[in-house]
Symmetry: D2
Subunit: 308 residues, 4 copies
Amino acid sequence: MTATPFARPLRGIVPPMITPLRGRDELDAAGLERLIEHILAGGVSGLFILGTTGEGPSLGYRLRKDLIQRTCRQVGQRVPVLVGITDTAFAESVNVARWAADAGAHAVVAAPPYYLPEGQPELQEYLDHLLPEMPLPLFLYNMPALTKVSYELSTVRRAMDDPRIIGLKDSSGNMIYFHQAAGLLRHRPDWTLLIGPEEMLADAVFAGGHGGVNGGANAFPRLYVDLFHAAASGDLPRVRELHARVMRISDSLYHVGRHPSAIIKGIKCALSLLDVCDDFMAEPFHRFREPERERVRDFLKKIQGDHA
Amino acid sequence: MTATPFARPLRGIVPPMITPLRGRDELDAAGLERLIEHILAGGVSGLFILGTTGEGPSLGYRLRKDLIQRTCRQVGQRVPVLVGITDTAFAESVNVARWAADAGAHAVVAAPPYYLPEGQPELQEYLDHLLPEMPLPLFLYNMPALTKVSYELSTVRRAMDDPRIIGLKDSSGNMIYFHQAAGLLRHRPDWTLLIGPEEMLADAVFAGGHGGVNGGANAFPRLYVDLFHAAASGDLPRVRELHARVMRISDSLYHVGRHPSAIIKGIKCALSLLDVCDDFMAEPFHRFREPERERVRDFLKKIQGDHA
Amino acid sequence: MTATPFARPLRGIVPPMITPLRGRDELDAAGLERLIEHILAGGVSGLFILGTTGEGPSLGYRLRKDLIQRTCRQVGQRVPVLVGITDTAFAESVNVARWAADAGAHAVVAAPPYYLPEGQPELQEYLDHLLPEMPLPLFLYNMPALTKVSYELSTVRRAMDDPRIIGLKDSSGNMIYFHQAAGLLRHRPDWTLLIGPEEMLADAVFAGGHGGVNGGANAFPRLYVDLFHAAASGDLPRVRELHARVMRISDSLYHVGRHPSAIIKGIKCALSLLDVCDDFMAEPFHRFREPERERVRDFLKKIQGDHA
Amino acid sequence: MTATPFARPLRGIVPPMITPLRGRDELDAAGLERLIEHILAGGVSGLFILGTTGEGPSLGYRLRKDLIQRTCRQVGQRVPVLVGITDTAFAESVNVARWAADAGAHAVVAAPPYYLPEGQPELQEYLDHLLPEMPLPLFLYNMPALTKVSYELSTVRRAMDDPRIIGLKDSSGNMIYFHQAAGLLRHRPDWTLLIGPEEMLADAVFAGGHGGVNGGANAFPRLYVDLFHAAASGDLPRVRELHARVMRISDSLYHVGRHPSAIIKGIKCALSLLDVCDDFMAEPFHRFREPERERVRDFLKKIQGDHA
């Protein structure tokens, strides 16, 4: 099936969907259906699967394919589906991109190959080789804390000259970089610039970005959508109020565990407590045990009080 | 087919074999045969495929399987074959390990999953989950510059309590760590401790290590084997002479390019110039172009003069 | 002499003044007078000397003392003067603080001691020891790229319980950290939170911060003051316009050189071209040579066109 | 007074002396005398003061001057005294170097200025500026973990062309770098190459280095001197035995605390328990409290058992 074209730039919230799992190498298919409906009900503008929050690199390829197919079927043409194809192996990135196209997804998303670090000329050549193999338009995904390599601004600028590359998701947390990337938008009016960390969503919109790929939108999609609209319309008091809620989620839900995986664990745990889906984590990670789960339960009560 | 057990600790040189490629996703099968014979003729003690030098993470799974089968068939029981299973996806590591066992390989080798960094407790639990799925004994592979996470010494010590884990390859370049790891050998007399960087081979043997997994042994296996024996027998003058040759290779061959991939490119280029195999690199890397190739040619002449 | 108390939180632009030098270990005294008047004429709210932009750690103590005295005399009570006392040696930090108090400065500013990295408990104890020796209130200065150690949020929170610590200047560039620090302001209504990187000035004010310590305000103080006021009053179109000018300065002036010192060199070079003061740099750095100076001259023409 | 010239390269153990303190900004003068005699009695080849282990950057200048004078007076011409002048402020490095020359020290030692990181061209120019001001020959001190900047090998090679620079102390812990530095010795037969981490002392001597600047030699100077001689004479069994003792010290004494300061704290605590000198630490650090002190006491008993 072929995807309907989507308006560009893509504006709003495009949640990086967690991957509901029932056990090792096993999708929680019913949870996935509920999760998609839960997210879409919040008014999001797209769905990004197989990213960092989606534990993409931790999932076997059979499961990735299954996830792509089920997600695209369930979403239909309601919002664009973006599929992460980040991989260390070129051939596997191409395979996943083809499954995505076949399933009706709308775009693919690629961070730099993340084992042996590339120089920027190597990364540029990589894109040159990748693009002819891509059946869908491509978003760049800047995530240097995990990939060790950035899409430096000169590489982003060069990528803008290729119409098959349509946007950048920046998860660097570096606001200077984001402002500089925003400054490049004049070269490509159709280019989409999205921010990863939700604590920076309003900043990103004020800076000229088009929205956010924010993990917390798995659990509370409406909150992030509302914050996006408040920022896009320049309603500063409303931004302040909603941003404060986002910060309370970040300060609580994402700091229950000690390791970098804590954010994903916190979101999955919250979704499990909300009866949306299972919170099994792919190896090498493990869902929160009961004491942490108890803390998430408490946070959730407080957070939900916010929204009452 | 089942592999013959091998004497432990495994002593000597276990080259991290480069993967001869003819093009994207395509083995250089004839080159592979020549390369294996070229290496084995040097008197090595084993062969390690699908490691960093082997561009393991950059290769598609179909090709990895093909490489494992061809290598095991060609090597037979002449030396143990170790197969890298390092992956971000647990399911894929298990698949590769099974292919390795089915093909008659002798052991598997795993660095920490390298996308989202684990804490040490998470890494320990990962090993606990991995081991029951492993059809072959396991080597740990410490490569923090690329995986961001180390096997810290407390984790190594804990791993020694499990007889299914049989050794550690350390590519950290941190000599203090290596000495500390050597100090742990008293807990497991059969445990194998190997060094990655060839510049440190003699140091590692003096420190109580059992040998090296040295990239340069792809091109000059006899040199590294000789250096190992000189160090193991405490022949300091001979060590000095052979180590100086190793340093000349390192100073020249590995510094032609500017990016971290330069070492692999240098070795592959040398093997191509020696008519052993093709020097195609898997994406995102590219073989040396003519100017760099010319410099390797020059170095090769000088290096070979050494051995005349 | 004793400084007049200043209103807290301190709101607006507090430029991190560059230190005009005529040669090694030699102040450009006339340039210093012109620079101070140039900056104050822009409507700034304070002046911060001996910070990173001021090359504080590169200056000998005799010169630091001279600079403190001249600056305080020249500024008088027009705006508060903040003096950097960051040092690896406790005794020297105390000395500089005393010179500052004697000269009539209003506050001191300290980043963590930056040679051997401290743990957070050590950093907290350091503050406990430092405070009784301080004759002036203290600002924390978060600059992890240079000091290797952050004031983590738990340490900031603890510092807020001591009334002698009155604020935080954050130069981490990490917008998530800044939002989290802003969230702590509810514990101390008089606490001042300032942002270092000028690219983030408007974001910082929207986030609840009180202003900026922005290097570019040495050359163009009015621009940063205007941007601050636009952000503080929620005038988004005006913010957009002024922020774009700030980004043009950043994109041009700060990227002429290749090393981290390029920002300071760019600002000093611009001030020299504007006939404000000399652009000599303290070792180990060197002012721009003619080709770079030429590029700054060109940028300056374009930037000044902006303000015409 | 003028120092007697010393034989070059300088071979053997040159302990990086801890600085005995009785309190903040106060030398333990009697302890200093005992410590110097304790160290010299071990047969060391020199004494290095005001390095990292000496807490040089944490000490006020008055105290540094006092330490230099007392140390030079006490040592006399028995062994060369090397004085650390590492500083972020050029003028202060020059001052300390002059005090060293006036007091009769034999050489000075400089790591790269360590606040704002230099590029290598800037670092080379820094040396060009520093040398004419130096009244004594200069050792380079490579300590990238603390200074953020390395003396890269190209910079070392260039420094070798200046006869006023006479050696390199490498504390990087990077054995590949050390081998490469050793390879440069052919360009300067009088150049001294010393290793910092004591765990690598024997490796360094085998690699062609001339000895070690090893912190543990404060407490157990004879052990390190013996290990040096064993390595220098190629007595491998004796190296193995003595190296094992060094590793036991490292594994115990340096891992009592959790922060990077733990090594210095451990050495100072041991010297205090041996009744050599006080273990006060300069801010921002604090001597071990009783529980840690108890552990050091236990380790000391075991370690001394080794030597009985």
